[in-house]
Symmetry: C2
Subunit: 552 residues, 2 copies
């Protein structure tokens, strides 16, 4: 599986999903094309999915928010007769490299989180209308919706059969959402996750696995009714018209990925990707109407789209570039005008969507399994939202004092209101709160620094950067860091970074990416699952996996 | 590594630790016997440790609380000249099976948690007096102490060199305690965990890695002074004399482990261990003085000691018995008198220690990587503390109505005050609160059931058992459950159970056992760490591990 995977798509290319828009209600219909797999060697039967199916879903969820702000309720349903969704395609999983499985689960998790949070963030509420078998990743799709309706017939059931059938865990948050979102009693959850055939009818409702069980004859009508009710109750303001998200201007070569506002330099020998963000060339639009008129060309929106694509592209297609280095270049004052417009108009639907998009994208950085660094060089513009990147990375290096022959403006960091609550991490506190867990008062005192251009010495004194270096030391120190970092075992780094990045409180989200993912990764390495006699290889042969029965 | 590992020891057998008692202060001296390894093939150089060293430490921590209640401060130090502790022995890790590594880390984690909690639970405060190199597991020993003193010289440093040196993670909570106990800034933690040589002197203190840095010349005196100060400030009541923990009466055969109060039946074909707890034959002692006079023969203390040994023995020595079934037989009323004595006198030092010991032992059940079930049969005594076992297991089955030819008293469960706060799980809420996360009011309403003998139908209605079965169905249903359960992949079950057992809040403890352990297990399976060219195998050869550089 080494062909490049492109995360950019648009409705004209969809093969697996359809969306029907009916005013405030959208019907999102999963109808997977069996022959539309991303790779050879498997058929996407029974509405099973691979990464390609999920890339379309992610695109839909995103466009729903920008292109269809009139939508208040999304009803997810199946276009097949007897099946809602059979989950991730097992043959795809059986044939995929470990890294692909892990990356696949990460992206699908992010997509589930995105539509789960849409209700709170944007007033778009997802309903799962489940008719037919809804198993494994299929039920996990439903679990991430905020209301699950199940038809009451002999073939409709929800289930997580991964453990008994496949010797792996549900890969996209299923266990965590069962216990912590739906708060199913743990012994019932234990039974539920141990039975291949799933749970149906009244019991599914009694155990809290679904919200409603509806006779088959009344199912469609009740779903329509429920969607209308929810739309009517929604507090989402009416917005008549969205903006169009056009294709990104992107060029990929062997050594670089170039967008309008981001330049990614790929150094395969050094095993680094250097991501340089360009500041805006012009002041912000005068108001949100002007921003809306710019549409997907508005700086703050264009930049976050490019940043998201950068992250997804590098994660999936450049596995051996173990260290990402973030840089920026541009005028901080001009950049601030763009951020200010959004922050001052956060109630405006498009400002809100753009800020929420930044929130999601910054979270993607947090859970990226690459070493992350930022170099705060002269001429940089790490201010406000972009300064969040400094607090997301594992380490930051900042230039101190003048550098010989470098006449760019002195490196400085500026905090804004955006650093104090607008962009919580998955642990539901800000990156500054996480950083200064030992000293919450320091976070408060940093508010008095809002707007100040903090040069290296001051940024260091305030704890905002890791290392400051002058002209004499910069080159050597930075080089040594890079060389050392990329020489470490990638596995150990992944484990270390996953643990060090998320101090403080835990949420369902951190639990999914931290605890559940780690257990899944472990199991995805065990012969009982992935060995030649393991369950994933033997799936469909009628012969059960041959297990080593030692308990670990 | 298949010889039986015995978790029972006593001071006459210690090879690696010495304890000097000086009134309220105890000096706990680590002086590992290089030739005293539990297995062949490695020498325990530089105060490195294996499971045998940790079994002694665990024994000391335990005896400190029961045999030496006069102790208020424990000073952990090294008996070697230039090294505090070099951590887990790498050759041992390099040669050990995956299951042994995981079990080893679990037990050492439990031991660290036990002495870390001793301050709050028993008023025994641990100080780490660090002179010389303190690396990896050595620093993790110090991290679990509540005050770390470091001498300021050229060779004394604290470090977590696992990632750069060994391509694994610190295995006993190091990353979590750095970020969440000591709240070290995450970028500093990143540096700290990336440098082989560790951090010393002022920087160690400034970064929060240690509490005090003291000039070498004043180190010993300052440690003595600090210990005395802490002892003087302690609110722990003075207790002149402890009780002696004598050897357990235990017989191990191929099919059974038999103690005075616990009978473990090992069915290798069925892959189950059935653990039957016997109720007390006599009423409780009249008061705590009488309990103290009974000493280690007092029912509640003897039972928990036997239960703990059962857990540790089965976990380590019986890896293929994938399902533990808990049963009990005895008179509930008589048992209640024993529990009541402790609960009514919880302020008494020995009652407190016995209850705390139960808390720790119940937590050991929670984190055991075996499927856990309880069968509530006629004649059983799952009341109060023993009922906690029902809420710790993955599933419980209870006999309903009379069984043909069975004239034992009807199966019934009784709740007591002990179920409502005295025995929190690692997540810091009770097992009932975890069980009824969806319905906290139900936990409140259950208080009105305290003391009632809840037979099957009522226990089921109250949500206290998973399945109730009458004489017609019992045998078949229970048999099917056992057969199905032990046929699943052990790895998938471990991951599933680790996720389903801990709903609700997270703590440092759940994070260590859940998140950190899972990542560690994953890394312990990766060729970069454990392959023939991996870091663990190559350690000491001067050649670095040969890593696959793909990031996962």
């Amino acid at each position: 599986m080494s062909k490049m995977i492109d995360f950019q798509t648009n409705p004209s290319k969809y093969r697996h999903w359809k969306v029907e828009y009916e005013g405030p209600v959208a019907n999102l219909i999963m109808d997977v094309d069996e022959n539309g797999g991303l790779f050879e060697g498997y058929e996407l039967k029974l509405n099973s999915y691979d990464l390609g199916v999920d890339i379309e879903l992610s695109d839909i969820v995103q466009r729903m928010r920008f292109e269809h702000p009139e939508v208040k309720v999304v009803v997810m349903k199946s276009g097949k007769d007897k099946v809602f969704c059979a989950g991730a395609n097992i043959r795809m999983l059986g044939g995929a490299a470990h890294s692909h499985k892990v990356n696949f689960c990460k992206f699908t998790n992010e997509t589930r989180n995105a539509f789960e949070a849409a209700a709170e963030d944007s007033g778009q509420n997802y309903i799962a209308a489940v008719r037919g078998a809804c198993a494994g990743g299929g039920y996990e799709l439903a679990l991430a919706c905020n209301h699950i309706m199940l038809t009451d017939d002999s073939t409709s059931a929800v289930g997580l059969p991964e453990v008994p059938l496949l010797a792996v865990l549900p890969g996209t948050g299923g266990l965590t959402r069962v216990t912590d979102k739906r708060k199913v009693r743990r012994d019932r959850a234990d039974i539920f996750c141990s039975i291949e055939e799933g749970v149906k009818g009244k019991r599914a409702q009694e155990w809290g696995l679904v919200d409603e069980v509806i006779p088959n004859s009344k199912f469609d009508d009740t779903v329509v009714e429920r969607a209308r009710e929810m739309a009517a109750k929604s507090s989402k303001p009416d917005v008549a018209k969205g903006i169009t998200l056009g294709p990104l201007n992107r060029e990929i070569t062997d050594n670089a990925v170039t967008y309008d506002l981001i330049e990614v330099e790929l150094d395969r020998e050094a095993r680094t990707a250097t991501i340089t963000i360009k500041g805006p060339s012009e002041e912000a639009p005068a108001d949100m109407a002007a921003f809306e008129a710019q549409g997907d060309q508005a700086y703050m929106l264009k930049l976050v789209r490019e940043l998201e694509d950068t992250i997804l592209h590098l994660r999936t297609n450049e596995n051996e570039l173990g260290l990402w280095i973030f840089k920026s270049q541009g005028d901080p004052e001009t950049l601030l005008t763009h951020e200010k417009l959004l922050m001052d108009n956060a109630e405006h639907w498009l400002a809100n969507e753009t800020l929420q998009y930044w929130k999601r994208t910054l979270k993607r950085i947090d859970v990226t399994s690459r070493s992350l660094a930022a170099f705060v060089e002269h001429g940089s513009c790490f201010v406000g939202i972009l300064a969040e990147i400094l607090f997301a990375v594992d380490r930051s290096y900042m230039m101190e004092d003048e550098f010989d022959g470098d006449n760019r403006p002195m490196a400085a960091i500026r905090l804004t209101d955006a650093n104090f609550g607008r962009f919580p991490m998955g642990n539901d506190i800000t990156r500054l709160q996480t950083r200064f867990l030992a000293d919450p008062e320091h976070v408060e005192s940093l508010k008095s620094q809002i707007g100040n251009a903090l040069e290296a010495e001051e940024a260091d004194a305030q704890g905002l950067v890791t290392v400051i270096l002058d002209d004499i030391d910069w080159e050597d120190e930075v080089r040594i860091f890079v060389e050392e970092r990329v020489a470490f075992s990638p596995d150990a780094l992944t484990g270390m970074e996953a643990n060090l990045r998320f101090a403080g409180p835990e949420t369902m989200e951190t639990r999914i990416f931290g605890r559940l993912t780690a257990w899944q990764n472990w199991i995805f390495n065990r012969p009982n699952a992935v060995g030649k006699d393991g369950a994933l290889q033997r799936y469909g042969t009628g012969v059960r996996g041959d297990y080593n029965m030692e308990r670990v």
